[in-house]
């Protein structure tokens, strides 16, 4: 029997719609759409058309789904693509006039890339990326799963917050995909004892955790962007003797847990020997001063000066070589597992979707090559979770995450402790408001909006940005603004100031933070 490869891609962008465009805000979403989601879906359609097994678990956060579904975002995305195309054309002319042919050629590539993406987005996707994903799921071997409503970091949330995050994760999924989600992606693989009960209540069948959650030992550190002045707390986990080569049933519970395979993750993520740092790949951090386009290759990832011009053919060749190498490692890994006595081991690879294409420009081609190579391998086979389960063995899982240190450090540290206090206060504030939902339509709408603001406050993104000192001010501004909105809603409801002016303001913020709209008023919890 061949080894089963379970590939999981988790996609998420915080809710940035109508909250600034550049340098912080909607452009994050547009970049992911153009560089990751569209090319990736196209690759998956190509694989399917070629008769290749392209099994994939594909997680989409509800905030991302809602934004991709928004006609405003769809229109703005088209303008964004037009702007990029025009900028690339300017660059092409500029570098041509200076005789820098390599750069000009790359600018010309970008011009065509954005032109073609716009055409495909309008014609092939009918501007609806979610619709395209749905078709891929309905007609193929792709299983879409859901996650927490606004990607909250669940292990530290209060119980009502947890319920909202899980329930709304499920409802939004059902709204867009017309079926019940089977799997749940724990944001950041954040697990604690008890979360499975809420997942079971909502009829989820499985979820994923990081390898040390099952096997114990030293956590693999994925995000290595720690602040230089912060001391990371590395959690220690006792060795359990269990293995991620098989799924487990959580002890005494009817739910399956899959553990990430550490080798498979490391190979791709590691800053030291992961693929994306290869000298031939496109450099992410250096941008053209005029246009922001990236024209250089990594060259030497330790230094930012002296980058050489990017060569797409060379990079494509490297991506192919790396794919072959990766599949060889998978084969070795699976032989290793057999030696340990697993007759049909499963190997789980979990990644952030945006790694492919956005962060690692060649990542989509690499992934496509990997799928093809696995298809050719006699030892490996891509599979979906239900083809591996149900789990026969039981396990207890450690409280953990896939973040630095293996536990909650990235989202809960000296820099963010005050944010958790506010998150908890906001939760209490909302609980006290629920009783007003029985009032007039405006009352009901105000309570719905308060729930949305609460869930936006709970997004793990703000904590992550503050911890890592990345776009920190944007994160704090958003955090405080949603909190202020919640307090204003609460104040007006409690003091019964539900007048015309309030209604006007309410419609305005409903327009600003407008997700879960079709389903919220009828389904308020």
């Amino acid at each position: 029997m061949s080894s089963k490869i379970l590939l999981v891609l988790h996609s998420h962008i915080p809710y940035v719609k109508r909250q600034g465009r550049w340098p912080f805000g909607e452009v994050w979403l547009f970049e992911a759409m153009a560089e990751t989601y569209i090319p990736l879906i196209q690759a998956w359609i190509r694989l399917k058309d070629a008769g290749i097994n392209n099994s994939l678990s594909f997680s989409f956060s509800p905030t991302l789904l809602e934004q991709l579904k928004s006609t405003y975002i769809q229109q703005e995305f088209i303008s964004y693509l037009q702007e990029r195309e025009a900028l690339a054309l300017e660059d092409e002319r500029y570098y041509m006039s200076r005789g820098e042919k390599d750069i000009a050629r790359m600018a010309s590539f970008y011009r065509r890339f954005y032109r073609d993406t716009r055409r495909d987005f309008i014609i092939e996707f009918d501007k609806d990326i979610v619709g395209a994903i749905k078709r891929v799921q309905d007609k193929g071997r792709v299983e879409i799963i859901t996650t927490a409503a606004t990607h909250a970091y669940l292990p530290l949330l209060d119980s009502s917050g947890l319920e909202y995050q899980v329930q709304w994760g499920k409802r939004v999924y059902e709204h867009y995909f017309d079926r019940e989600p089977q799997g749940f992606w724990l944001p950041e693989c954040g697990y604690f004892h008890g979360i499975e009960d809420i997942l079971i209540e909502n009829s989820f069948k499985y979820f994923y955790v990081d390898s040390h959650a099952i096997e114990g030992g030293k956590p693999i550190e994925v995000f290595s962007e720690g602040g230089e002045e912060t001391e990371v707390e590395i959690a220690t986990f006792a060795r359990t003797g269990l293995s991620t080569y098989r799924p487990y049933r959580i002890k005494d519970k009817e739910i399956t847990v899959y553990g990430r395979n550490s080798m498979v993750s490391h190979q791709v993520w590691s800053a030291d020997y992961g693929y994306p740092g290869d000298p031939d790949y496109r450099e992410f951090h250096k941008q053209d001063q005029r246009s922001g386009f990236k024209y250089w290759k990594v060259t030497d990832r330790r230094i930012l000066d002296g980058k050489q011009a990017y060569n797409p053919d060379q990079a494509a060749l490297r991506a192919k070589q790396h794919a072959v190498h990766f599949v060889k490692s998978l084969e070795e890994n699976s032989r290793e597992a057999r030696k340990l006595g697993f007759t049909s081991p499963s190997i789980v690879g979990c990644y952030d979707t945006e790694l492919f294409g956005h962060w690692w420009w060649e990542g989509v081609s690499w992934l496509e090559e990997v799928i093809k190579e696995i298809h050719l391998s006699s030892e490996l086979e891509l599979a979906l979770p239900y083809e591996v389960g149900p789990a026969k063995h039981e396990a207890q899982v450690f409280e953990s995450s896939w973040g630095m240190g293996g536990k909650h450090y990235v989202w809960d540290n000296n820099e963010t402790a005050w944010m958790w206090e506010i998150i908890k206060k906001a939760g209490k504030e909302y609980e006290a408001l629920k009783k007003f939902a029985d009032g007039s339509d405006v009352h009901r709408l105000a309570v719905c909006q308060a729930l949305k603001e609460l869930m936006l406050i709970q997004s793990s993104d703000w904590l992550f940005m503050v911890s890592n000192n990345l776009t920190r001010d944007y994160a704090m501004k958003r955090f405080f603004e949603h909190y202020t909105k919640l307090l204003r809603l609460s104040n007006c409801l409690r003091s019964n100031k539900i007048d015309k002016e309030f209604a006007k303001w309410l419609y305005q913020i409903e327009y600003e933070d407008d997700f879960f709209n079709q389903i919220l008023p009828g389904g308020l919890i």
Binding site: G227, W418, M419, E481, Y483, T484, K485
Partner: protein, 395 residues
């Protein structure tokens, strides 16, 4: 006009000059008929709400405890300040303007004004870059970022001197035209009361030189002390009073010993109110040889007590003092000039009287809280007008 001020300092919660500034500004604006509310941190044994001098004081959150993570405390205070602002705003039927003082209240100011569509005015009293003569660590860079966004987002920015206007423009890129200079003020009445029995024993022959301020390098007090033996050589009755506390204290005391000045130099510790007035009352000259000074309120206070001043020719001090007219200026860190200026004032009573008279007239006309309060209200009106137009155009 209903105005909300966010300030992390307000009497009795005082660290630097910020608390005094907000205290005076608010009571003088209230005197002119504005409804002024202040949200500030809680202080032990002080009420959560208090009306004083016509100003509504609201104290929220917890008072800062030594050793606590300062940033966390600050942001938590901002969240409590927001909650209070939302409640008061609805109770009083809406603020016309919100005025945030310095980065410590930046997020409260930005969030409340954005969500309630109220104009935001901010006073940048000093910058992190200026205070530290550059940005040297993560915390300083973060504060700089917060100051920058506050300065860029506010409808109007107020600063206290030409020097600060230049700094805000060059550091944060806010155009000069958007930044209004309103100087700090001083209320001469505050300096009148003198204790019947002072703890300081100053004889009539003593020629007292006084320095008041935080004992930190940027205040230049080290140079003053180091040059004191030369002053003594020329004026044997000279006595130096150093008032204030700070990280430099131990080093200054060591230097005093090394120079053998124990009998001629007095470290008073932190002094204020009547004791401070007493020292000024006795002093022949006040010296503020700063290396960095956004404004220099101490110089104005000394002027209000009719003490001649000598200042470092830097920042706001350079704006306040006209050399040879309202005081004397020296090049920062230049001991030779310092000695010459001090001995001149101590030995030339005609010069000293002239400097005092001119300075005192200037205080009454320019650095007068009534004038400042009026100018500030005028800025509020402009911000309101500006915001109204913007909203109208959007609508």
């Amino acid at each position: 006009m209903k105005v909300l001020l966010f300030s992390w300092e307000y009497p009795p919660h005082m660290f630097g000059g910020l608390g005094q500034h907000v205290f005076d500004l608010s009571r003088f604006m209230a005197k002119q008929g504005a409804e002024i509310h202040i949200i500030t941190p809680r202080v032990e044994n002080y009420p959560d709400y208090q009306e004083e001098n016509g100003v509504h004081i609201h104290r929220v959150g917890s008072s800062y405890l030594e050793g606590e993570n300062f940033k966390s405390w600050t942001f938590r205070f901002n969240s409590d300040a927001i909650r209070e602002a939302v409640n008061i705003n609805s109770r009083i039927g809406g603020f016309d303007v919100i005025h945030a003082h310095d980065w410590l209240v930046a997020y409260a100011g930005r969030a409340v004004t954005k969500i309630f569509e109220i104009p935001l005015v901010t006073t940048i009293h000093a910058t992190e870059h200026g205070r530290n003569l550059g940005l040297h660590n993560r915390m300083q860079m973060e504060i700089n970022e917060i100051e920058k966004n506050l300065a860029l987002e506010a409808d109007r920015v107020i600063c206290c001197s030409q020097y600060m206007q230049d700094e805000i423009t060059s550091l944060f890129g806010r155009p000069r035209n958007d930044i209004v200079i309103i100087p700090n003020g001083v209320d001469p009445d505050v300096f009148l009361p003198i204790p019947e029995n002072s703890r300081f024993n100053i004889s009539e022959e003593d020629k007292v030189i006084v320095f008041l301020g935080r004992l930190v390098p940027e205040k230049g007090v080290w140079y003053l002390l180091n040059s004191f033996p030369q002053i003594l050589a020329e004026v044997p009755q000279a006595r130096l009073y150093i008032g204030g506390k700070g990280p430099l204290l131990a080093e200054l005391k060591r230097l005093t010993q090394k120079l053998g000045l124990e009998d001629n130099v007095v470290f008073t510790g932190f002094i204020y109110h009547e004791e401070r007035n007493f020292i000024y009352h006795k002093a022949r000259v006040a010296v503020f040889p700063s290396l960095y000074e956004p404004f220099g309120i101490v110089a104005l206070e000394a002027m209000a007590t009719r003490t001649p001043v000598i200042v470092g020719d830097v920042g706001g001090l350079a704006d306040i003092v006209e050399d040879g007219v309202t005081g004397l200026k020296v090049t920062p860190a230049n001991e030779e000039e310092l000695v010459r200026a001090i001995t001149r004032v101590l030995n030339d009573q005609i010069l000293a009287d002239k400097l005092c008279n001119n300075a005192s007239n200037m205080i009454a006309s320019v650095y007068n809280w009534e004038v400042i309060a009026r100018s500030t209200i005028r800025i509020y009106e402009q911000a309101l007008e500006q915001k109204g137009k913007k909203l109208f155009n959007l609508g």
